[in-house]
Structures are given as C-alpha cells and as structure tokens.
C-alpha cells in the first residue's frame, strides 16, 4: 500500500496523518511538498488538515492551484483514490474534484469537539468497503469553515447518486448533532466515481490510545485496505 500526503505551507495535520497511515499499514507514506509537480505512483493521495496558505482568499483556494495539485488531478483523472480531511476537503472542493463548497460555520465560532457520524448508503466505493451502512463513528471536528453548501439541485444529485458518505447524527447529549450548519447534515462526500472523498472530521485524531475514540482508526483502515 503506497500512500502520499501532500503538505502545503500551513498544513498542520500532515504528521498526525503520516503516523496514522504508518500505524495502520506499517509503511510510511511519501510526504510531498506543494511545489513538487512530480508524484510517484501511489494507491491513495491524502490531503491533510490545517490552514494552507493561511486561509488567504478562501480556505483551500490557493492550495488547490499549487503545482502538487496538478499531479493530484492527474492521479484522480486516472481513477486514483484521494482523501481530503478538513482543509484537505476544502482544497478538493476548490480544485473541482468534488462539488459544492464549505462556508463559515453557521454559529460563527470555531468548532472543536467530537461528532457522531452515520455511515450512509453510498455508491460502490473502495474507501468505505470496510464500514457497514448505518454504523456510527465518533470522530472529532476542528474547523471554522465546515458548513457544507451547494444548491438544492446539487444536493439532490448527491443524494440520488449515493455520494453522501457521512452525516452528522445525534450525539445523545445536549449539543446539536450538526456542529456547523452543513446542508443536510453532510460531514463527508464522494465523487461520482466513488474514488475521491472529502470529510470535515479528523480520523487521524481518533486513533485509540490517548484519544477519545478509535473510530478514526477504523475509518482509515477501511480506506487504506480498500485501495490496496
């Protein structure tokens, strides 16, 4: 299993993601600097969270046009798997690999807490193969712009196409299930071919020992085993 993690100036979850991948696969992912236009063949490209380019202009806007992303677009156009987490999700939307956009949280506050996610019935995708539909995952979010937005036609198309992968669901406590106002409680979506996934929650922050949950590890194992 060969993975690559793309690093931009301002990425800050790249090391955590590297350790998570290495913990699961036993193999260290390649770390690719944003200026590298060369991407060796890999089974999956992971775009980590953080604040690429200081969130200047719009979150992910500048990173989406960086040289390394041209290689990621080529990789995806050949059917290669891509996972974007948090700022990585924002970058995938800005690059056009996924539809819609992420706008400011409806509560105008940075949200950093555990969320409960319901695994949705999706199109056939290697990324979710190890996760039964209807199962729940507890994985934390940490973001200021995680409010998924698309027009109603686009949202309907995502629903009909089985492209909604994860939805925020009831925490069984007093906090709202949806932490950011995301349309239709969307926490993560898939591309039409099921090979590209973006999600706001941070699976690399729910790896078991020392973390509140090990569900991120379950999630990443499904992704990594699915593409190998």
């Amino acid at each position: 299993m060969r993975a690559a993690v793309i690093i931009f100036p301002g990425s800050n979850c790249d090391r955590d993601m590297m350790v998570a991948v290495q913990t699961i696969t036993g193999r260290r992912p390649a770390l690719v600097w944003h200026k590298d236009s060369q991407l060796d063949p890999v089974d999956i490209v992971i775009i980590p969270g953080g604040f690429s380019f200081g969130d200047y202009l719009r979150c992910g806007a500048l990173a989406a046009r960086a040289p390394a992303m041209h290689s990621v677009l080529d990789h995806a156009s050949r059917g290669g798997a891509v996972l974007g987490v948090c700022n990585g999700f924002q970058i995938l939307l800005e690059s056009g690999l996924l539809p819609g956009t992420l706008v400011r949280n409806s509560g105008l506050k940075f949200v950093c807490r555990e969320t409960r996610l319901a695994v949705q019935k999706t199109i056939d995708t290697p990324l979710m193969a190890g996760l039964p539909q209807g199962s729940e995952l507890i994985i934390p979010v940490a973001h200021n712009e995680g409010n998924y937005f698309a027009d109603d036609d686009q949202l309907d198309a995502l629903e009909l196409g089985g492209q909604i992968a994860l939805r925020y669901t009831d925490n069984h406590d007093s906090r709202p299930a949806n932490p950011n106002g995301a349309a239709r409680d969307i926490a993560g979506i898939l591309s039409a071919n099921g090979r590209v996934m973006g999600m706001m929650p941070h699976p690399e922050r729910a790896m078991g020992a020392g973390h509140k949950s090990a569900d991120g590890c379950r999630f990443l194992r499904s992704v990594l085993e699915g593409v190998s």
Partner: protein, 82 residues
C-alpha cells in the same frame, strides 16, 4: 490599467457574518439597516492600455481563482489612468 474587482455572496447564500453585523448595528440603534452582506474587494494593476483586454483578463482571473462561483458573484471595473 487599474482594475477593481468586487466579490459578493450570491443571493440565497446565507451570510452569517453579515447577519451578526446586522444584529450589532441594530444594537447601536441602526434598526433601519437590513440585509447586511459582506463581500471583498480586490484591486490590481494590469499592464495594458486596452481597457477591454484588461477586463477580459480580470474576468479570467475571477473564474480561475479570485471568485468561487458556487457561492460568489463578481463585478469588474476598469479605471483608466488619469
């Protein structure tokens, strides 16, 4: 040519920041201010004497980077040097 680009949220896109500012204005007694929307302005110089060409270049910049046309509209104003 100086180019002034105004980027605004499309109608129908919720602007929580605008709403918070509207509430703050109301708190200051400006209850007549409604539909507060916050956008951004980008100014740049294009090395061209041709206003039409400058506008065309700016439009391409908006489409490829400066605006997110999923949620944003843009207007372009070309200012001839005085």
């Amino acid at each position: 040519m100086q180019v002034i680009i105004n980027i605004t949220l499309k109608a129908g896109v919720l602007d929580p920041q605008g709403r918070a500012v509207e509430n703050a204005l109301a708190g200051l007694g400006f209850t007549d201010a409604v539909d507060v929307r916050i956008g951004k302005q980008i100014t740049l110089d294009i090395d061209s004497e041709d206003a039409a060409r400058a506008e065309q270049r700016a439009a391409r910049m908006c489409e490829s980077l400066l605006a997110n046309t999923v949620i944003e509209d843009y207007t372009i104003e070309v200012v001839a040097p005085s």
